[in-house]
Amino acid sequence: MKEQIIQAKNLCFSYKNEDGKPLPVIKNLTFSIERGSFVSILGHNGSGKSTLAKLLNLVLTPDSGELSVGGIDVMRDDLSEEDIYNLRRRIGMVFQNPDNQLVATIVEEDIAFGPENLGIEPDEIRKRVDDALAAVNMTEFARHSPSQLSGGQKQRIAIAGIIAMLPDCIIFDESTAMLDPIGRAEVMETIERLNRERGITVLHITHYMDEAVRADRVMVVDHGEILLDGTPGEVFSHVEQLKAAGLDVPQVTALVHKLKTEAGFDLPDTILHSADAVEALRALYDQIGG
């Protein structure tokens, strides 16, 4: 069995509303994330998926339950500041608004921010910054100001800033939500490459179905609970449940589902990609009369 980088058991978290009454956001979540995997967390706005991300990074502290991140039991009473610091280095976070996470006025200075906080030697920081820039294909923008960049480019710089801290895992908290289609494509391509080539564990929080299908595993969160969990093929075959949770399914998946349930077509359950659907439908078509 592979190592689990995140393990949560009966995790609970509530916000306090105006009257001081607790408002449960995360209810009894139990799950684990395998090291090196690419997991999408899908849910509509307000489903609790962003709160979950903040818990994993200790921006918020769980009310109860067990949580171990990178082998550190974060619910331990004697958790030191040093432990939290260490954990944040290993579990990086990229947020939604690219403008609100860049600190410096020059791209490479911004990427250096994390390693500088870690007290790393200047020569080593330089190496890491250059490497991180190359990893997100932004080397030529090293000396630019973030305000000259597009949304997708800014987001890639934010990613580079995390990579320079050499994390084991990166959590993307709706990092594509504010981008245009080109920016989204750039960021998704970068995320996939980091997962594949560097073995970085990716937790991608999103409400875009076409992004979720690119993961190894999809977890659907609704009302602070896990609604569905499995490979994209498995998850997206539950068309009705997804729609009830305010989510869509990829159009081709919806078509295959409709053909199967309403017209009785003999199609497999777990078609996600256009090419597979084309293949399956063509095979059915060729059989007619033959």
Binding site: P181, L247, L255, L259
Partner: protein, 293 residues
Amino acid sequence: MMEHTPKISLENVTYRYSIGTPFEKAALQNVTLGFEGGIITGLMGHTGSGKSTIAQLLNGLLRPTEGTVRIDGQDIWEDPKKIGAVRFRVGLVFQYPEYQLFEETVARDIAYGPHNMGLDDDEIRRRVEEAARFTGITPDIFEKSPFELSGGQKRRVAIAGVMAMDPEILVLDEPAAGLDPKGRAEILGGIRAYQREKKNTIIIISHSMEDMALYADKLMVLDHGRVSRYGDAHEVFSHAEELKSVGLSRPQITKFVMELARAGVPVNGGIYSVEDAYKEVLRVFAEKKKGAK
């Protein structure tokens, strides 16, 4: 190039910003386009195609460096002093408009535009209620502070604030950006219901082909400040390859139907919804079955 008489149009419009500084740049170069009255037009193009500049030119927030902007054939800059009146005729909802909220209560924020128009209190109240209905804002949040609301609710309040001005022409820049599928459907559905009742002219700027295929009557595709395609969804999506080169993503289903046709299943292109694809597949299968018998 357009046969219809446009409700609002740009004629040979060039817009340059930062004139006289080293950063001078043309955002639009000699653009001519017109929007039909009484329908929803989806204006699409990649980032940097000048869509947002066009929006601000249409309601007189920006003045063309060269060229003319016309409403019902009338040059809106004929008397620059009267440009304020143009802004009441052409409503403009910016991208992420929730940042414009400032009043103490939701109702007062929606009423801000109508109030500036000098309407009486009864009329303002009527308009606030009407705009709230179209955007799905329930009266129980009228007296809440807009800052207590969720992101999606703030967006609705901001859109309602411009709808309440009851403009002849309403321009919305990416009204559903960043929302989840349910939120998108509610906002865009509300805009459509509003247009159907008011019969006014609506221009929605978007780069989501899926959304525009569903909610707009006509689509206009911009490429380098030129109208590269104009027509209903079926016409525009028949040229799906072209959309890709303009930097727009085609709906997955459109691509799928094209691939299916290429693989030898004789479906027709120009399809952009699951429903239509479903019907088309059934039609093709039924025809072959008939032929086989």
